[in-house]
């Protein structure tokens, strides 16, 4: 039971800046997800909380106590490593017993130890593996043992570094659902690192998006999904990736596409841009709805260039006014390659970003500060 506070956390390895001036407050019992591509500083942040890296600047508090200079074994923190870090010379059950034997996570009798291990291995479905050595396990099994070594002990904080990354897709979805229901997890403050946006959205009470060691956005899954702070966050979430189109504001509407076959979308009311201003428009493939063949009420219409069936959905590449739009369709509309389709987009699904190259900020209700930065 503990809050976590990071203030001005910075860490460099040689010339590489792993984490830069990161400040985050995590509430007691919260399930906090850190999302970012590889090299964004996620693991370094986690190891800073654990005390496994000497941070260059900033402070770390756990449960209100400053632990910046406290040894890892005094922090009462449990961590699942991305590399599993199972002791190769010990069996699965010895590995799981290790944190219970050290005497620093509480005193346990043999019976209590056995009971805790049994409980965890039942939850994780690794009961049959207790006598095996790590080298005799598959990667997925190793990962579950690593997770078990965390869950088996009482701790103030659970730190999980990509704990599902090596499972196959089916098991991953199942484990994701189970993780959410685990009693220990829901009571203990958990920091969960992942590069998988689906895990982040599904599990997190809140999500922090990191890029190159800096915090880009922090918020609930709903906020991150509905109002991505910039094109980087918008691109990081969603598969297939969000469509980003360049456009020009023209009398309360945004003109998109090449001149010959231009089309337009309404400019959201909270975006204050004048005629002639350049903007970027983000449209998620799943927010574009195919309404069938040519229809006058629709906002967009184009020609299907490519249709790929991905199980549940069909991913369409549609040529709209010279722009290639990726659209997810349910497949019931019966669209074929080469045919014309009409599509609609809800007003609040139109994300408008500042113009420019690279990652640009979202424009909207509170974009005054953002404008100042342009």
């Amino acid at each position: 039971m503990a809050t976590i506070g990071l203030t001005g956390l910075s860490k460099s390895f040689g010339k590489t800046r792993a984490v830069h001036d990161l400040s985050v407050d995590i509430a007691d019992g919260e399930f906090f997800v850190i999302l970012g591509p590889s090299g964004a500083g996620k693991t370094t942040t986690l190891k800073s909380i654990a005390g496994l890296v000497d941070i260059d600047a900033g402070t770390v508090t756990i449960g209100g106590n400053d632990v910046t200079r406290v040894e890892p074994y005094h922090r009462n923190v449990a961590m699942a490593f991305e590399s599993y870090a199972l002791y190769p010379q010990k069996t699965v059950s010895e590995n799981l017993a290790s944190p219970l034997r050290s005497g620093r996570s509480g005193r346990f009798t043999d019976a209590q130890r056995a009971e805790r291990i049994d409980q965890v291995t039942t939850t994780l479905g690794i009961n049959a593996l207790l006598k095996r050595f790590p080298r005799e396990l598959s990667n997925g099994q190793r990962q579950r043992v690593a997770l078990g070594r965390v869950l088996v002990r009482p701790a103030d904080v659970y730190l999980l570094d990509e704990p599902l990354s090596h499972l196959d897709a089916k098991l991953r979805a199942a484990m994701r659902a189970e993780l959410k229901q685990l009693g220990a997890m829901s009571k203990t403050t958990t920091v969960y690192v992942t590069h998988d946006y689906q895990e982040a959205l599904a599990l997190g009470d809140r999500i922090a998006v990191l890029r190159e060691g800096s915090l880009v956005q922090i918020g609930t899954p709903e906020e991150i999904w509905r109002r991505p702070a910039d094109t980087f966050v918008a691109r990081a979430l969603g598969q297939p990736e969000i469509n980003i189109l360049d456009g020009v504001v023209d009398d309360g509407r945004i003109r998109l596409g090449s001149d010959a076959a231009a089309f337009d979308l309404p400019l959201p009311a909270d975006v204050r841009r004048l005629t002639g201003d350049r903007v970027r428009v983000g449209l998620r493939p799943c927010d574009i709805h195919v309404v069938g063949a040519e229809s006058t009420s629709a906002r967009l219409s184009g020609t299907v260039r490519l249709a790929e069936r991905l199980g549940r959905n069909i991913e369409l590449t549609v040529d709209v006014g010279g722009e290639q739009l990726i659209v997810l369709s349910s497949g019931r509309e019966g669209v074929d390659e080469g045919s014309r389709v009409s599509m609609t987009v809800a007003d609040n699904d139109v994300h408008v970003f500042a113009a420019g190259d690279g990652d640009t900020a979202l424009l909207g209700a509170d974009d005054n500060t953002l404008e100042a930065a342009l």
């Binding site: 005390g51 040894e71 074994y73 923190v77 590399s83 199972l86 002791y87 010379q89 944190p99 005497g103």
Partner: protein, 293 residues
């Protein structure tokens, strides 16, 4: 008809027998026999009696008596050195030197493998450089110092000076083992609630055991083969087999080549036995480096 085998009959991994590879194999076998010849010559010489010891043809009446002579009082009288005692001294010197090197070298190698700082590579290179210079270069000052502080011809003195031979080996070999060991393992132990010392003993040490076996064996062999240090820094008390063997060559008197060869064979046995005993650790040690955890 191996030479006429069709490609379709070959299993994956099999190679066709080509004239080139046959020539190469024959050449390598020839080179192998050529390299082993000094050892064969030593064995033959050790089995000859005194009359035949200088003959060069391979016809002789083999005898085991040379080995008995070397180990008996008769041999001691001939050379004024007790070969059995020298054998025991060698065991004590080299065993002691390896143990001291392991006790100091394992923590040193761990520190060198885990903590990198400015100049840490220079320090390691400095240690290795003890092995560059010929021992003869440092032997004169060492002789003077040993005489002054009373370490001349003592086993402690020999164990100490042999650190020049064994310590760099132990530290360098084990450092690479510790570097290959993922730091995550010890970090996991820290978070499990163990101190750094206990994480080292509980996690790191058992995993590098094959490396320790390999380093210990190599250090023992190098220490055992050392000749210059015991020759100059020791006499009857701390003298080793390497020096004792040469006494059979007689220094001015009669040279007993057959006894010398027999003594050399006996002296080669302890490292050989040791190597065979820890062989299975060595093989595991080699594969440990290959499959990085």
């Amino acid at each position: 008809m191996a030479l006429k085998m069709r490609r379709s009959e070959l299993l994956p991994g099999q190679k066709r027998l080509s004239p080139g590879s046959v020539v190469a194999d024959v050449g390598l076998i020839g080179w192998f026999l050529f390299s082993l010849f000094p050892i064969a010559w030593m064995v033959i010489l050790a089995l000859k009696n005194a009359e035949e010891q200088t003959t060069t043809y391979f016809q002789f009446s083999p005898t085991w008596s040379n080995f008995a002579t070397v180990l008996s009082d008769k041999g001691t009288q001939m050379t004024s050195v007790d070969f059995k005692a020298a054998l025991l001294t060698s065991l004590l010197n080299c065993g002691g030197a390896v143990i001291v090197s392991l006790v100091i070298g394992i923590p040193a190698a761990y520190a060198a493998g885990r903590w990198k700082y400015k100049g840490s590579n220079d320090l390691m290179f400095q240690m290795l450089s003890f092995r560059f210079a010929p021992e003869l270069m440092v032997i004169v000052p060492l002789f003077v110092i040993y005489n002054q502080i009373g370490l001349f011809d003592t086993k402690v003195g020999m164990i100490w000076v042999l650190q020049l031979v064994t310590m760099p080996l132990v530290v360098w070999i084990l450092r690479s083992y510790f570097e290959d060991l993922p730091a995550d393992l010890e970090q996991a132990a820290l978070l499990d609630g163990y101190t750094r010392t206990r994480a080292f003993v509980m996690v790191a040490l058992p995993i590098v055991r094959p490396g320790i076996a390999a380093a210990a064996l190599l250090a023992f062999i190098f220490a055992w083969n050392n000749y210059v240090f015991p020759l100059i820094l020791a006499d009857s008390n701390a003298g080793t087999v390497t020096v004792a063997i040469t006494k059979f060559l007689g220094g001015g008197g009669q040279a007993y080549y057959n006894l010398t060869a027999a003594a050399a064979i006996i002296a080669a046995l302890p490292p050989l036995i040791l190597a065979l005993t820890i062989q299975r650790y060595l093989v595991r040690g080699l594969s440990f480096g290959a499959v990085k955890a």
